[in-house]
């Protein structure tokens, strides 16, 4: 697949990820507990390869996270080394823990605080990817508190601006 196509896909999945985080903050108490443990105003950035899509968010008491535009320096930055590496993760071929094991990304910031974010991503992976994919990329598939279809529906109508 061409880099540009992967870039587009990454951008799309990042948008789903942002909405997913907010939806699950309201509807899954485990995700809520994780995000409530984040430091007030913690900023997080995902960068999908050099020149690739990026998403920056800030911890928010009401919605879990809000998107930050033009974030220069964030507390935690997960920087994928390549567009294709990010694509492997965002398209559900590789789980976040495997991505770490395969050195697909570098991490700037406190490893300790990142682990909670990693768990949130693993919850989202369980909802967003079909069962057979989730079982392949997660060490243990967490029980779903609502159907994936419902998460998708809620994410579709989620207002992020």
């Amino acid at each position: 697949m061409k880099n540009e196509m992967m870039n587009q896909m990454n951008r799309l999945v990042l948008a789903v990820l942002l909405r997913g985080l907010r939806v699950l903050y309201r509807s899954d108490d485990r995700v809520r507990a994780e995000m409530d443990s984040w430091r007030k105003g913690l900023t997080l950035k995902l960068v999908c390869g050099p020149g690739g899509a990026a998403l920056a968010v800030r911890q928010d008491d009401a919605c879990g996270v809000v998107q930050v535009r033009r974030a220069q320096r964030t507390d935690i930055t997960m920087r994928f080394k390549s567009v294709s590496g990010a694509f492997q993760v965002l398209s559900g071929q590789v789980g976040i823990s495997d991505a770490y094991a395969r050195h697909l990304f570098a991490l700037e910031g406190d490893i300790y605080q990142t682990m909670s974010f990693v768990r949130c991503v693993e919850y989202i992976e369980a909802y967003l990817f079909p069962g057979f994919m989730a079982r392949r990329i997660l060490r243990e598939v967490p029980e779903k508190k609502l159907s994936s279809l419902r998460v998708y529906a809620l994410a579709a109508v989620e207002r992020v601006r």
Partner: protein
Amino acid sequence: MAGQRRQEKWLQPDRDGKESGCGRAAGNGDGRQMTPYFEFTNPTKLCSGKGAVDNLAYELQILGVQHPMILSDAVLEKIGTLRVVLQALGDRKIGRIFTDIPRDSSVEVVNRIAQEYRDYGCDGIVALGGGSVLDTAKGVRLLIGQGSDNLLDLMGCECLPQGEHIPFLAIPTTAGTGSEATAVAVIRNTERNIKMEYISQQLMPDVAILDARMTQTLPPRITASTGMDTLCHAIEAYSCMQKNPLSDAYAVAAIELVRGNLMKAVCCGRSRKARLAMANASFLAGAAFSNSMVGVVHAVGHALGGVCHIAHGDAMNILLPAGMIFNRKVCREEYAGLLLYLAGPEVYVQTPKEKRADRAITEVLRLRRRLHQLTGLPLTLKEAGVDPAKFPEVAGVALNDGAVIVNPRQVTYESVIRILEMCYGE
């Protein structure tokens, strides 16, 4: 006897009954598949064996160091180990000797030493000590190399650009942490009561010097404790998600050396052969886990260190069998394979294939028991004086340790509590 019964009870099948084939990485009879991508790095020059320390002056010269900063601790100064190293320097100048490094070094200590490094115009670091001194030296090197004055600004994993090259030589005085061979430094954050992990290639020493004279005076109790840390590095490296053919080779070589030499080093500390073998085991296991990472045993161990101030090796000794039992579900084949190195070829071939993983855990339990009889090394958290009321806090900290991300089995709050309860020993 009670201890023995308890340990055998541990080997019962997992409570949920399922023994393998449920984890994503579970064996299917053909061995776990090799990771589709791996990295391996170990640029450190190893000088190992008789008279290795005597080459220090030469190694400094090769690295162009004129005014080295010598980092060590008060005990090594007192018992004369530091003197051996200083003598090896001959007429070479020294920039600064700093021996005021506590057992549990912190961000503040690192920041302060970096300031002294600059004040005294040093141009290289020689670290002589155990894990704490070596990790402190790594922190100092990182700060100087990156031109920073606060270690908290440099947190992260594989994210720092190549800074200024600061020559760095490591001389371990325990055979355990393997810090002389790793890209990892664990440093305490006093404010948050946690041990922080730094992962960067720039933490790897240019030269590691292994010399039996450096560890000969180590008391049996610490020899045992640090030796179990080495074993733990090798076993976790061999079973973590990031394992690869090279880290495997280092890990099994380390385990063989531990099998042949740990008891000897504990019983006859003067044995140069056993001491050197253990120093090499420590280096090998360090290189292994630096490239494949460690898992749940270290995550919980770091948390116990941070919250309850348990010595790292003691925590490893207490937690290792429980951690193996927790991971057994998905690591049967790895553990079965390790039996060859843990117990030797006779035991390996005499043990039926399906019993090898459990036998490997039994071998670890046996080794622990012997070390306990010889040195009083604690087998349970109770003996180590851990208050069970702290378990929730320990579990919370452990979950956020970087090591859980590559543990072969998902680590949850409940599973950490179960491991802690199992290790409490009632």
